[in-house]
Structures are given as C-alpha cells and as structure tokens.
C-alpha cells in the first residue's frame, strides 16, 4: 500500500459521488426538470419561434434563473447529508485532506450539471436548422453558462457545510445566489443608478454573475470574465473547506 496521490483521491471521491447521483432517481428527475423548465421558458415565455431570430439569446437568458433553483438543489446534500448520516466521521478520518474531499465532491456535481447542460444541445441543432447562428458565440455562451453554473454550485457547496438540514442549506444558497444575480440585473442596476454614482453601480454590477455571463455570450471569451468566475469558485470552495474543518473542533 502506497500513499495515494491527490488526483487519485479526488477521482475516487468524484466517482463515488457520481455513482450516488445515478443510482437514485434524483439525477434523472433533475435532468428532466432542467430541460422542461428551460424549454418552457424558451418556447412559451420568450416565444422563441415567433421572435423570428435564429439565435439563442432567448434560450441562454433563462439559464441564470433556472440555475438559481436547480443548482442549489444539487448542492444542498453535498455536505449536509454527510453530517446528517454521520458518514462525515468516516470521511474525515480517512487519510485524505479536506481540500481533496471538497474538490472531489464539487467536481462531481459540476460534471453532473455539465451533463445536464449537454442535453440541451438539441436547441442548438434546431436553431442551426432554422437559420445560421454564430457557432462561436453559441460555444462561448455554453462556456459562460457552465462557468456560471460552477459559481452557483460553489456557493451551494459552501452553504451545505453550514447545516445538517438540507432545506436550510438550499435556502441559504438561493439567497446568496440571488444576490449575485440581482447585482447586475438591469432593473436593479437601473434603480441604483438613479441615486448612486456610476462607478458604484459598475462595481456592484461587476460582482454579478449576470454581467459576466452576458459578456461571455457576446462571442468572445474574455479572460477577465473567466477569471471572475474562477475567483468566485475558488473563494467559495476555500470557505467550504474552512467550514468543514471548523466542525472538527466544535
């Protein structure tokens, strides 16, 4: 027996998490609801076909709102369930670091959401059939959506370490994520700019998932936007690790 490398441990954790998604109906229910919601908003609310534009604006604009509820639903059980069932005691006494565990769990959930995102691909095919969308822009929007989902997820992973009650974790995650959306939501920025100086409005909007997601949708992968999402994820996961370690002395 040799000490296992970090990658091997992260992969082992990731693998186990993935297994538990797909042995339960949760994974399938999630994917179906995700597709139904996105389809409903895109076709019924945006009136996709009647808009007469063959682009995916009306599809991607709903992603933040669907993620707002579904990503915390995936994330809520990540750590709270370990505590509720007591399995955390075994997990934290295995020869692994908290960082490896946080990474493994997070990556598994992110990958899972990525898979759900891939299932929306028929949308792209439909648009490509109807018109001639800018495939580069579509690709960038997907990257943006995936990164944004990752940011939502990191918030949910962090809050799931706060309580053993998954409902509490879910609500906390939605509230924090809502803040990250609203900070850049035009109706909100509009209200703020009525009394606040422009620079402040911009700083607040810079914090928002929305503005960075919109910027990525324009068809260029701006490193600043990528860096923004990566920083949010890193920060939230760092906090996640601190919270998990904190429980040891409590």
């Amino acid at each position: 027996m040799k000490p296992s490398g970090t990658t091997a441990i992260v992969l082992a954790v990731l693998r186990r998490e993935m297994q538990s998604y797909f042995v339960s109906p949760v994974a399938y229910v999630f994917i179906v609801i995700f597709l139904l919601l996105l389809g409903f908003f895109t076709f019924q609310v945006t009136r996709f076909f009647e808009a007469g534009q063959a682009d995916l604006q009306g599809f991607f604009q709903w992603h933040p709102w669907v993620f707002l509820f579904l990503v915390p639903a995936v994330a809520m059980r990540l750590w709270s369930e370990e505590r509720r069932l007591g399995t955390i005691e075994l997990l934290l006494t295995l020869p692994v670091t908290v960082t490896q565990l946080v990474m493994g769990k997070y990556l598994a959930a992110w990958l899972f959401i990525g898979i759900a995102l891939l299932f929306t691909f028929p949308m792209v095919l439909t648009v490509a059939y109807l018109g001639d969308p800018d495939m580069g822009a579509v690709f960038c929007a997907y990257v943006g959506s995936f990164l944004m989902a990752g940011a939502f997820l990191s918030v949910g992973s962090m809050t799931s370490a706060l309580s053993r009650n998954p409902v509490v974790c879910f609500i906390l995650a939605v509230v924090v994520c809502l803040f990250f959306i609203l900070a850049g939501y035009p109706p909100v920025t509009g209200t703020i700019s009525a009394w606040a100086p422009v620079w402040l409005v911009n700083r607040v909007a810079d914090l928002s998932f929305l503005s960075h997601f919109l910027s990525l949708q324009r068809g260029v992968i701006d490193l600043r936007d990528v860096l923004y999402f990566v920083s949010v994820i890193t920060f939230m996961l760092y906090l996640n690790g601190v919270l998990v370690r904190g429980r040891k002395s409590a």
Binding site: P3, R15, L85, T93, L94, P95
Partner: protein
C-alpha cells in the same frame, strides 16, 4: 503503540474528557469502558483525528494525529459509533471506494476487496444495496471498511451495539483473530463482552480515567470476590451460622433465604484472598447438614462497574 497523553476536550464549556492518559501496545485488546456519556466516543474521535483535542496529544505508531494526520490515519482502522456507511451504494462498490481512497490500485484492489468481503462474510450480499441490509450486516460492512487495509491499529466504537447474540459472537471472534499483530481499542458498556475479548480494561467516568487493569484484577474489586455461596437442605439455621462463624478466616455470614425447601447463605472471608471454602466443607461435613451446592464467587463485574463509575473519582482513586 497508541499513546494518549493528558487528553482533554470541552464541549462549549462542559468538559467531556479530562486529562486522560493511557497507551495500547500491539497484541493488546484494550476494553474502553464507561457508562453512556462518559466520554468514550469523544476520546476515540480524538484518537482517529475526527476531533481536535483542546489539550494533550495522541500518537499512533509514532505519528502525532494532529501534526501528521495523514501518516497517522493510514495506520488506523476506525469503526465509528452506529457504523455510518453510504447506504445508497452496494457493499462491493462501497468497499471499492474505500480501497481506492486507501491507495490500492488495479488487481490488488480487487483482491483486497474480495478478501475483506470473504473475511467478514459479506460475499453473499456483495451486490446488495447497503440500505437493504439488516443492522448486523451494515455493522459488518463498516467493520470490513475498517480492516480493509490491514491496519496496525484498530479503533472500534461499540462494535457489537445492536447486534443479536450470534452476531455479537461473530464480531468478537473476528476481533480476537486479528489481535495478534494489532493494537485494538474497543469501547463498550457491556461487561461480559469486555471480559470475553479484552486483555486489559480501562474504565472512565465523567471523562476521567478511574481504572486501568486486567479484567481478572477488576473482578477482585467486587465485594463478592472470594465469598462462598452455599445452599443446603432444610436445617437449624442458628446452629449452621454459628458453625460457619467458627471457621478460620470467616468474617461474616449472610443469610439469603431460609424456607421449607432449603437454606441459602453467603459466607464472606476477612479478606478476598483468604480461602475459606475448604474450612467450610470440613466444618459442615461432620453433619447434620446436607450441602446441595457450594461455590466460590469470582465477583461480579457489573457491581464493580457500578461502584466505580457512580462514586466521585476521588473516592475510588487507586
């Protein structure tokens, strides 16, 4: 060697473990006894690194569990209280996960998992989802997890809790078989279990160590130890007690029952090590008494346990 030195832990101002020190060497099975809430689980959680001690150190195989946690944990197998496992996995995939984490790769991993399942009699349920298993099997799965990497040190928190007598027997059997090359700590509040399995016992009460000795020595603390229990055919009780009082070494005679069907009484020696059985047989042998049974009490562990864990620690200091 597991060395626990001056370990203390407080939960929001309430001490759970106080200044606890002991050590366990390879080949030993240490019974960790105490009433519920004594601090057994808290101590084991600090030994395995799940909780960080407020004060004191734990060294496992020479590694400090706080400063070199990974090296220490590689050497430990841990069965937490209530045997928590991922219930949505099958037995085999769960053990496979543990083997991956423990650094076994390829064919070696498969061999390990198979061997462990065979050893814990899990072969028949290997493809069964854990939540469909009975409590005894779940316990066994968690036990299997703790011995998968053949650790030098085993920490078992109430390993037979909630099992039926046959399952208890099986688990004890497995523990005894493994003890030769390992240092094992086993917490329990079942005294018979401790006596059946352990080579040494420590008793804690309110977070403090009160006793550290072998189960046999522990028995001698019982007020009953060395007493002779007698049962006779109906007879003149006064004459009987008078004759027993006259036996060399006898301190007092306690009459337990005197009915038409017979007499039972207990004779206490002046000190536990004074043998009085032979003197009693000789005194009563000349008649007219008919001895139906006679035996020398070894002492009751539950009495010792109760006495030790209920009186303030200062009164039982040894």
């Amino acid at each position: 060697m597991i060395e626990v030195d001056a370990l203390s832990k407080t939960y929001s101002g309430v001490p759970a473990v106080e200044d606890l020190s002991f050590s366990v060497a390879k080949g030993e099975i240490l019974g960790f006894l105490g009433p519920n809430g004594a601090g057994k689980s808290t101590t084991m959680r600090m030994i395995t690194g799940f909780l960080t001690p407020d004060r004191g150190t734990v060294r496992v195989g020479g590694y400090d569990v706080v400063r070199e946690p990974l090296a220490a944990r590689r050497k430990i197998g841990y069965l937490p209280e209530n045997a928590p496992v991922y219930e949505d996995m099958t037995v085999q995939s769960y053990l496979d996960f543990i083997a991956r984490i423990r650094g076994f790769g390829g064919a070696q991993r498969k061999k390990r998992v198979d061997a462990t399942m065979a050893r814990c009699f899990l072969g028949d349920v290997r493809f069964q989802t854990i939540h469909t298993l009975s409590k005894g099997f779940k316990q066994r799965v968690c036990f299997a997890q703790s011995i998968l990497h053949d650790p030098d040190y085993l920490v078992l928190d109430e390993p037979t809790d909630g099992l039926d007598p046959n399952q208890k027997h099986e688990v004890r059997q497995m523990i005894r078989e493994m003890s030769v090359h390992k240092a094992i700590i086993l917490s329990t509040h079942i005294l018979d279990e401790m006596e059946a399995v352990c080579t040494r016992a420590i008793i804690i009460a309110r977070g403090r160590l009160v006793v550290d000795e072998t189960p046999e020595r522990l028995r001698t603390r019982s007020p009953l130890h060395g007493a002779v229990s007698l049962s006779l055919a109906p007879c003149a009780v006064d004459e009987l007690t008078a004759r027993l009082q006259g036996v060399e070494g006898v301190d007092r005679v306690a009459l337990l029952a005197a009915e038409g069907t017979g007499v039972t009484l207990r004779v206490f020696p002046r000190a536990p090590e004074v043998a009085i059985a032979e003197g009693i047989v000789r005194a009563l042998g000349i008649g007219p008494f008919h001895i139906r049974s006679l035996f020398v009490e070894k002492g009751r562990l539950d009495e010792v346990f109760r006495e030790i864990t209920q009186t303030p620690p200062s009164a039982t200091a040894h």
